[in-house]
Subunit: 314 residues, 2 copies
């Protein structure tokens, strides 16, 4: 079976561990990963979501912090601060910097981000195929107090404390899906939407022209996983993002935001947590099962539920 | 008094410690530093000689190794090696990388190297003015076995073991002296040539069009310090460089290579070590005094000798 997963960073990475465990070399998995959070810091191109997925699946992620590298050190960051080099609020670890140096150099040499990601994965061997949503520059900006700032500044520097009025995916209308993205969707037997932030992780992917259309118009069933359990995000601050869109912070709110494929939306099936069993999304089959990704086996079980919900045999 | 020093890296840095000690805030010192050794590694612009001088005068240099930062760590380098990223033979320390990140970013933003150097020196406060010889790209290449390679590859990777046929300062004929260089020379009361490698440290500086002419044609007396004591370099591998030019590895050989200003060369005076008292350079006043730069006080004494040789009162 060929499975395509739309995913963001940390939550997406954790979800993909379960997908990989479920697939167990019998199925091909392709992750299409958000790059709207990407930024250039100290001249280095950082891809937080791609790196979270790559490090996590490659066994190099820090399990406590949730982002960045295991056994990280911070010498370069300290030195940059001693020079007074801004910004200081973004955590660039020494091990992490090696990744960014290679990426930045390859991009400067003319390689597209998809090729750079493939090259980096030769070391990490994530066991699935990682594709950036686009090889073009797309940046998620947050409008707050009438002014736009880069998503990372809002998220990391301000801890999402400034009220978001709206999100803008700058460049998304001109961006093309990265090499391989549309083919992967077209050839998929199943498309999963990870329980990532629907606004700023899945949102930018769907904003790239052609991707939502391909998902909606393809043959593969589309099963989504709710990132909200009860009235709170599984992790992260999706609630503060949903507020800007006037979407109710609930499995039902997000499910209805995605909408039924039969009604011009995205979903055929919607996995919600057992506590959200009363969720209704018109035109979408809702299945309530525990959605806490407590470990790989439990997350793999969630994937098995999605496969069953899609009417596919594993 | 305004003193201008032409200098290379590690030996130049040690010499400049003595010049600064001699000057003791009563005199202005400007160092014009070789950038022919500069290179781009992993996308970072490295200026080995400028950094050696800046770190040494700023108290941040590693005193054992002679280059790079004190208390250095090597995490980024190890990670780059794990990615298989080439080259691996150039030592990029974590602390050092912060300097290169700032420099590379500022250069990319359009600042000339002279302005970048001034900005970096706001942290290091070297107590003298540091100028790169040029803001343009000039690279010293070594022709060996009929093929040219970057000086650093020959010097660091091959430890100068491949016989050098000649040295080429690529770009020197088009390069202009950096902002401030010609003014500093024109306004100088005394010009010192540090006991740096005459071929690959002082040579590139003099190859920038206009610099040698300004030194030769200016009002300031020019006093050089022999980098050779007896038949060996004070430090480094100047002997392997001199061989390519058929210059005798001696204080006399190097002095004659520089030549008398009165005869179209550079020197008015030539400081040699006491063991080289019989040195003769036609048209140049030779003074034999101990030239081992054992500490700052001893090096300052050498500078005082040069001031006296130039007929100037300190």
């Amino acid at each position: 079976m060929r499975i395509v997963v739309l995913a963001g960073g940390i939550g997406g990475a954790r979800f993909l561990l379960g997908v990989r465990a479920w697939a167990e070399n019998h199925h091909q998995v392709t992750a299409i990963v958000n790059t709207g959070d990407d930024l250039v810091i100290h001249g280095l191109r950082i891809c937080p979501d791609l790196d979270s997925v790559m490090y996590t699946l490659g066994g190099g992620a820090d399990p406590e912090r949730g982002w960045g590298r295991r056994d990280e050190s911070w010498v370069v960051k300290e030195e940059l601060a001693r020079y007074g080099a801004e910004p200081t609020w973004f955590g660039l670890g020494d091990r992490d910097i090696a990744t960014h140096l290679i990426r930045t150099r390859m991009l400067a040499a003319g390689y597209p981000l998809s090729a750079v990601t493939e090259a980096l994965c030769q070391r990490w061997k994530p066991g699935i195929r990682l594709l950036p949503m686009t090889d073009d520059r797309v940046e998620t900006h947050v409008v707050t107090g009438g002014q736009a700032m880069h998503f990372q500044e809002w998220w990391v520097r301000h801890r999402a404390s400034l009220p978001a009025e709206r999100f803008v995916f700058v460049g998304a209308d001109q961006a093309k899906p990265a090499a391989g993205v549309l083919d992967a969707i077209a050839e998929a037997d199943l498309i999963l939407i990870a329980p990532s932030n629907p606004v700023v992780s899945i949102g930018p992917i769907l904003a790239i022209s052609g991707i939502a259309e391909a998902v909606r118009g393809g043959n593969a069933p589309v099963i989504g996983f709710s990132p909200i359990i009860g009235d709170a995000p599984v992790r992260g601050m999706a609630d503060r993002c949903l507020a800007a869109l006037d979407v109710k912070v609930s499995a039902e709110g997000v499910g209805q935001m995605y909408g039924a494929r039969s009604a011009g939306g995205l979903l055929d099936g919607w996995l919600v947590d057992s506590v959200d069993a009363e969720t209704e999304v018109p035109g979408v089959t809702v299945l309530a099962r525990p959605l806490w990704m407590t470990d790989e086996a439990e997350t793999a079980r969630m994937v098995a539920d999605a496969v069953a919900l899609a009417g596919l045999a594993s």
